[in-house]
């Protein structure tokens, strides 16, 4: 816990993420004869200071302030991630519970093995296959996540389903697996035995356990997979031509648009830190054992 806390302190992550492109900034500064005389550290300082005040610099390519692009893209990415989460959390938990209730029977095998297989596949591979199936052959869903301007929430949702599916599949494997093992443990516990002996209906017993034992792993997944998820967003947004933070970074990297790149990366760093902290916090609130441990 303490370790995780220390690790996600914004300053720490910020430095870790900013470290790698010290060179580029130097090169870039030289190229543009901008702030060559100032020490790198001061540049960073000013830049971060400005960043926190909403001034993220000016894009080389668009010759316009970076901030609106980044904020817009972040909003779009969050929509995408949100759709994926809203779909995957209940379905993943359900899958895990069904697998646990059918332990070692064919249904369990299918869910576990299937979940594992899709988890290990690159997002663009599942993405391509999904596009082919639902977009090209069945023609159920649009293949690009570019909805008409001013589209309503439902239309946007319709366009977002296909792009969210690869994320869904990756997360499904993790969540179902953790829910499954949590459930197996719960089914085996004394609590369940007494509850069943006391004559509580199965349904009630299972639901109580599902809530307790499946929520925690889900939060763990979110906490540990955020970084991975962000990597996945870069790929999926590119594949579906979606104007999110991932494709923004990708375009900026290709176009060597450093202010845009830096702003994008720092934004991701902050999102990552916040997500981890929130997950950590939720976890400690929900899990009495951890809370006790923290007090010692």
């Amino acid at each position: 816990m303490v370790f995780l806390g220390g690790q996600v302190l914004p300053g720490n992550v910020g430095r870790a993420i900013l470290g790698p492109f010290a060179d580029q900034r130097a090169v870039d500064a030289l190229n543009h004869s901008l702030g060559v005389d100032r020490p790198l550290l001061v540049q960073y300082g000013t830049w971060i200071w400005n960043f926190l005040h909403g001034d993220m610099g000016t894009s080389y390519i668009f010759r316009a302030p970076v901030a609106p692009f980044v904020i817009d893209a972040l909003g779009n990415s969050m929509k995408l991630a949100l759709v994926a989460f809203v779909l995957v959390v209940p379905i993943g938990i359900l899958g895990g519970v069904i697998a646990a209730l059918n332990l070692n029977r064919p249904l369990d095998r299918i869910i576990s093995l299937g979940g594992l297989s899709v988890t290990v596949l690159p997002e663009f591979v599942t993405g391509i296959i999904l596009i082919l199936v639902f977009g090209v052959w069945l023609r159920w869903l649009p293949i690009a996540a570019a909805w008409p301007k001013g589209a309503g929430v439902l239309t946007q949702l319709y366009y977002l389903i296909l792009p969210s599916l690869p994320l869904f599949l990756v997360l499904f494997g993790y969540i179902a697996r953790m829910a499954r093992s949590g459930m197996i443990e719960a089914l085996d516990s004394d609590y369940t035995r007494t509850a069943v002996l006391k004559g509580l209906p199965w349904r009630t017993v299972i639901w109580r356990h599902v809530l307790r034992n499946a929520l925690l792993p889900t939060i763990t997944v979110i906490a540990t997979q955020t970084g991975y998820l962000i990597g996945g967003l870069v790929v999926i947004e590119t594949l579906f031509r979606y104007q999110g933070i991932g494709s923004l970074i990708f375009t900026a990297a290709r176009g060597k648009d450093f202010p845009m790149l830096e702003a994008g990366i720092l934004t991701i760093g902050i999102v990552y830190a916040v997500a981890t902290l929130v997950a950590d916090f939720l976890y400690s609130v929900l899990n009495p054992r951890i809370r006790l441990g923290a007090e010692q």
């Binding site: 370790f3 663009f124 962000i230 870069v234």
Partner: protein
């Protein structure tokens, strides 16, 4: 046994017992998971090594009058937008990814093992600092690291190998470190100190052979991720470069047209990646199982 024991009274060494490695091999050969995965992997390795000799067409040969032809008896998987034979390209396309990903994995294993041995053995401040840095480093998605490194260093196979190798090294280092932390408490390490052995001898001769199993398991798992990463980077345009018939690269070049229904230009490449990744993961699963029962 009494006080009058003689050499004859002592039990002989039990040479019949299978060695731990024999044990592992034995359970690997009986693991369906491992054998299936191995078959898939071997298939692609053969394609990578000898594919160009048995494919019907040169994977790079363009045929401008026969572009985007659907699968047929002549072209089993159809042709792409330059009229190149997709089947031949898929077969030969295994070569680059099966060069780059294993090399990256080997790099990661060597660097990670050395790092993990050192921080696990010396512990203390070095361990604290390095472990923190590694944790922070691991939090950044590989794709992002790669993006930045490649912007800075330019695209080449070597860059991809180094980027993936170095971003996986911390994960291997973490595995090695925790194994070393357990090993270093064992008395044979104390015995080495009581012979005034140097740190290098203790780390590499005494401890290393005993932490090979977790390293092997982690390495096979990492190979799966390395293939994942190379394919993704190629798809993003930061990995293997044209004119290679690489799968990720081909998908990247052709997926823009799938709205037009030219599914064969991407489907087979996607399936190839999927089969290779799953194959390696099955192997990893089998190896993990064999070392842990």
């Amino acid at each position: 046994m009494s006080a009058t024991d003689t050499p004859a009274a002592l039990p002989a060494p039990d040479t019949a017992r299978r060695s731990p490695w024999g044990e592992v091999l034995h359970s690997l050969l009986r693991s369906g998971t491992f054998l299936t995965g191995l078959a898939i992997l071997l298939f692609w390795v053969v394609c990578a090594l000898f594919g160009e000799h048995f494919v019907p067409y040169d994977p790079l040969d363009a045929d401008i009058i026969n572009t985007l032809a659907p699968p047929s008896a002549d072209h089993w998987f159809g042709t792409d937008q330059l009229g190149r034979d997709v089947f031949s390209r898929v077969i030969v396309g295994s070569r680059d990814i099966l060069t780059v990903a294993p090399l990256a994995t080997i790099l990661a294993t060597i660097a990670g093992t050395a790092l993990g041995l050192v921080i696990g053995y010396f512990r203390g401040i070095v361990d604290d600092i390095v472990s923190r840095v590694l944790e922070a480093f691991m939090a950044i998605p590989v794709v992002i690291i790669a993006l930045l490194a490649i912007v800075a260093l330019g695209t080449s196979k070597a860059t991809v190998i180094v980027v993936i190798g170095l971003s996986f090294a911390p994960i291997i280092a973490r595995t090695v470190r925790s194994a070393v932390l357990a090993e270093r408490e064992l008395d044979y390490v104390a015995a080495a100190k009581l012979r005034h052995e140097g740190a290098l001898h203790t780390m590499f001769v005494e401890i290393l052979p005993n932490v090979i199993p977790p390293i092997l398991v982690e390495t096979t798992v990492r190979l799966g991720y390395a293939i994942f990463a190379v394919a993704t980077l190629s798809f993003m345009g930061f990995g293997i470069q044209p004119p290679s018939p690489d799968w990720g690269l081909s998908i990247s070049n052709n997926y823009g047209m799938i709205g037009g229904g030219f599914w064969w230009t991407v489907l087979f490449d996607a399936m190839a990646i999927a089969s290779l990744v799953i194959g390696v993961n099955l192997v990893a699963d089998g190896v993990h199982g064999a070392f842990n029962d």
